[in-house]
Symmetry: C2
Subunit: 379 residues, 2 copies
DNA sequence: GGAATTGGTTTATCAATCGAAATAAGACAC
DNA sequence: GTGTCTTATTTCGATTGATAAACCAATTCC
């Protein structure tokens, strides 16, 4: 449908925002002639449109942008229960959403999801463009061709043909991806970090997930399990290192995940609720402080290691808002700063974000958007 | 000189070894027609030549290989004192070598190096092809355009225009690179790991260096300092964490580098020589055992973290042969296995290599070879 | 001695891209 | 106002990269 030239132009406009034909030629290292013909074609197809004029010295430049009704993309997050289904436009704006219980049985889950997909498409109506595809973000491992869920402990699935079944039920192309990877791809496509060729994303939920963009591309690793921060051996030589579900002891996940924090609170006889715990700590409760301190410190060290190893231009950390403001957040930064070898005064930016559930779904939608905008050559 | 098509063919033949035109077409996803024309051209230029026939079912295929006299490449290693200068052919074979003291003063250093370059070129004589360029491997940070040494603690250099000066003295194009990066690029181009899109390399010398190939390309990171394993906070909460030259305490380098091991030996009243220490440990000396155990264990944990984060298909570890066979090597593997989360039974291969000084120089030569073979689009 | 099989070349053709010239649309000086 | 300057965009051949399909070549297999 689109050629490589088309894809490059769409890619630049999506990631870097509206720009003129001449800007595009500069950015993509193409001749103005080529850009002109491609753009004419894309405008003719209703994918691009001319925006406002920008006045400078000579002739004003015509900014170009994606038509928001050029296409729409379904994003499904199975990251947590309940699952989320959204319909997004080419800018990553959510046009409609559904929240539904995450069924354990694959087939029933797919049926429920297919119904939700139909619902969001109907709700968005003609405003939205043709639906181009479905992206699915799910915890666990995904096959190399991104069609099959190889293993997901959280879902209890093994070798489930997610793409095949969902595609059969909806008639749309389906692309699946690990939840952390979907999140960072969404950030790259729709978020403000799109132009960074090297950045990392970490989220603290029940578990801890992470993903990395290296040289502008997602780093999947040889076994498809790159960037696993959660089983970093952080507290391995402490006397109270806890066993982890991975079989080792002292993994980051056993200290800094929400589950770990809640568990530690329970064991200390405190309420196992993050917000309450944060309030207690703010009021000076020593046990609450100790728990959050330990969790934040461990995560800070792990982030320092991440920065040392990957040297990203920035790290996006998605965090429960309550944690963000507590000792956790403060100690985290301190410990990270302590353990990062400062080179030439440059400090890697740590960007704290509140973790919203829908972010996973828009990340998932970005998978479908990627295929629409960039073709299949975006590994 | 060469076009993108040429470069792709040369790249495949260098990295993957000799193959037929049809193999090339398959590998590069090109039509047989295109391959044919490119190959004809390259043979005409004396870069490629037809090797033996391989007989199968139908018509036998003509294997193609690089002419070893197509070009030659100078490699300079400033990794340690003395410096090494080699002349290598397109297969990475060393045609001539010189070892010379590493001068502290940049200008005198360059003059000595230029003389050595002339010497190796003369020694190799007409057997070797036209010298295509010079690669320099040096400890420390290198500018983004790979021409200037921004800072090197080991050399005591700050903002030295290595490429400019050496180029002026020799009349050849010069490409510089961090020592670890040069090493892994050499491994990728000339070594047996060329076809792995994701692998890591770590070397234990006076310091500890590491580099990573991700998605088939060198991972430099945003500040050009990616993959720094040596300042991983490994022993940070031990009571005897040593201060590191980076300003922190308990870095991997303070425990597992050769310097650290020698230091620990001296403090324990043992001979500060790695080989002797290894022998002592083999004979059951408890202090020697403890030092090597601690060093190996720390490196093992760091490698486990590396594997968790990068998920490479293999890790190449370059080590002093004496260490390889000692407790160090054994504990290293154990600790690494303990801390790597095994997924689906696949184990990341750890390849131990004896570290030879010349390897850095051939790695440096590969920088020039890359530019000759693949053009400048190989960031 | 054919038939089958695989490797490599020729030819006509398509599509991407470029450079340079032409055209458009403003700002700016006077 | 008017002409000049600057920058944006389009038009127009020309070039290059790559292809498919047909063809020729060199073997093995039966």
């Amino acid at each position: 449908m689109f050629s490589a030239g088309h894809h490059r132009i769409l890619s630049a406009l999506t990631r870097l925002g509206p720009m003129s034909r001449t800007d595009l030629a500069r950015h993509l290292d193409l001749s103005k002639a080529s850009v002109s013909t491609f753009v004419r074609d894309l405008i003719g197809r209703g994918v691009l449109r001319e925006l406002e004029l920008v006045f400078g010295q000579g002739r004003p430049s015509v900014m170009l942008g994606l038509c928001s009704d050029a296409a729409s993309f379904v994003g499904i997050s199975l990251h947590a229960d309940p699952a989320t289904v959204v319909l997004a436009d080419p800018h990553g704006r959510v046009l409609a959403r559904r929240v539904l219980p995450r069924e354990a049985d694959p087939e029933r889950c797919f049926e429920a999801l297919a119904a939700a997909v139909a619902a969001v498409r109907q709700e968005a109506g003609v405003e939205a463009g043709e639906t181009a595809g479905i992206g699915v973000a799910q915890p666990g491992f995904v096959s190399r061709d991104r069609r099959i869920c190889l293993a997901s402990a959280a879902l209890g699935w093994v070798d489930v043909d997610v793409a095949g079944r969902l595609s059969a039920l909806t008639g749309l192309p389906v692309f699946i991806e690990n939840d952390a990877n979907a999140l960072i791809l969404g950030e790259q496509l729709f978020g403000p970090s799109g132009d960074c060729p090297d950045f990392s994303l970490v989220f603290v939920g029940d578990g801890i997930g992470s993903a990395h963009i290296v040289n502008g591309r997602l780093h999947r690793g040889h076994h498809g399990g790159a960037g696993e921060l959660s089983h970093s051996p952080i507290a391995f030589d402490s006397q109270n290192a806890l066993p982890c579900r991975c079989g080792n002891r002292g993994c980051l996940e056993t200290v800094s995940s929400l589950q770990a924090i809640r568990g530690a609170a329970r064991r200390a006889g405190l309420p196992a609720d993050i917000a309450t715990l944060a309030t207690l700590a703010a009021d000076g409760n020593p046990e609450a402080l100790a728990i959050l301190h330990r969790a934040g410190s461990a995560l800070g060290i792990a982030l320092a290691q991440l920065v040392q190893m990957f040297d990203p231009s920035q790290v996006v950390l998605m965090l429960d808002p309550a944690l963000k403001e507590s000792v956790f957040g403060i100690v985290l930064r301190q410990e990270m700063d302590n353990h990062v070898l400062r080179r030439s005064g440059v400090k890697t930016a740590l960007i704290l974000r509140g973790s919203e559930h829908e972010t996973f779904a828009t990340g998932a939608a970005s998978l479908a958007a990627q295929h629409y905008l960039f073709g299949s050559n975006c590994t």
